[in-house]
Symmetry: C2
Subunit: 286 residues, 2 copies
Amino acid sequence: MRTYLDCIPCFLRLTIEQGRLLTGDEIVHRELMNEAVKLVPGFSLGLTPPRMVKEMQEVIKRRFPNCDPYKKVKDQSNHRAMELYPMLKEKVARSEDRLLTAVELAIAGNVIDYAAKNNLNIEHEIQTILAGSFTADQKSVFEYDLFRKELADVKTILYLADNAGEIVFDRVLIEEIGTGREVIFAVRDKPILNDAIIEDAVFCGLDKICRVISSGVDSPGTVLEYCSDEFLKIFKEADMVISKGQGNYEALTEAPRKIFFLFKVKCPVIARHSGAQMGDIVLKQL
Amino acid sequence: MRTYLDCIPCFLRLTIEQGRLLTGDEIVHRELMNEAVKLVPGFSLGLTPPRMVKEMQEVIKRRFPNCDPYKKVKDQSNHRAMELYPMLKEKVARSEDRLLTAVELAIAGNVIDYAAKNNLNIEHEIQTILAGSFTADQKSVFEYDLFRKELADVKTILYLADNAGEIVFDRVLIEEIGTGREVIFAVRDKPILNDAIIEDAVFCGLDKICRVISSGVDSPGTVLEYCSDEFLKIFKEADMVISKGQGNYEALTEAPRKIFFLFKVKCPVIARHSGAQMGDIVLKQL
């Protein structure tokens, strides 16, 4: 998916947010903003949003090398989601359609996204997830029958992770679909926003239930140009690819293979592009 | 109120929105964005947001002199609000506390704000307004008793308008408080966003019930430095000033006189500054 002008205010918001997480010095915040806006006229809108974010991220990295502004946020998300794990498992166990419930939970877990929602009330979101199932209205683009059917013949699955915390919800889905199949769980190579990296996956026990690898990228989406050869081989050969979150969707809508995209719609640009509404849970094959 | 870094993505969003209202040419949209971001490093954040918006507005005006991108939106808002007028009057007539209901409606009318909400579902907002009264939760900053008390001794009121359409709701309040008092209704001098100007006030019949003047500004908030001498004299001498909307609040929080601010909280920066929550209706004297 190309970058839209609407994405640019959002990129700047991410820059401010990270500046504030890294220092209380308002002059530095201002300087980061000034450096970030200078990049805008040079942006190639034909490229995907995760590539643009990576480019803008250099502004943060120049000032704070090797920083991980969301480290604390990610740790909190992992801890809170792990506390929820038994409840998630119980919800699946009690369900009439275990796979459907696990898919819905995995997508719902995509709300654990500090980056997309400044004022996220995580507890409120979690209560909403645990309380109910989703209405048909919220599933206008939800190709569950296709997913279930294709899954039946699959031996290897590449699962592209999105955020820390959210990966506990992914774990619940992988535990449902992993029996008799090889699942490879791919995370970002280096910290970028609140995206999961290897240590998050290990903390949340993903390494106990499947193979965990780095995709090689430090962009907030699996941009194939940045991926490692090891990852690309698996990406090409896996029977099924499951992609979580908006960032991976943005990066991979024109990828040279079929992918099942699972995400919650958090912005109007993605809503338009995917044909869904804001807040919907999407399961869509491209 | 000073400008915060959080305001800048919002200013850019307004630039994109106006570009799209003025032309379908995406290259022009991009050029407008590029010119707008160039202004950011020169911004003095000590100044108020409406001053910054006016500065950024020059980017639009250079390309589209004498344009009024929101003309159609404003006309639609005026028409729809005038259709509602009889229902608003009935709601006040049936109320146990006519003044309270009129104040609540006037603030609720502040949702007719195309500029602050890209995806405004105006009919939904209006149904919400007509359906109910507001809960205590939504009125955490609501100095109604003070307002009622001070109003008792007042002979002249300067009423600062905000948006087209919304001014019909203002009319209902002015009809409640205008008996035995002189009310002067001040609108912007020239088109800026969806803010009301003289022709909107005349269309909505404000000139039939009070004196309508221009404040002299073409900023989306009553920035005193830009106001006409006629306006400033009235501003100084009026027994009471009622200010509608966030833009006027941003412009006037440090004004050299007491003002009653009435607005609905539409952004996190204003929420923090006013001590209210997003979505609250605020009645606050400063």
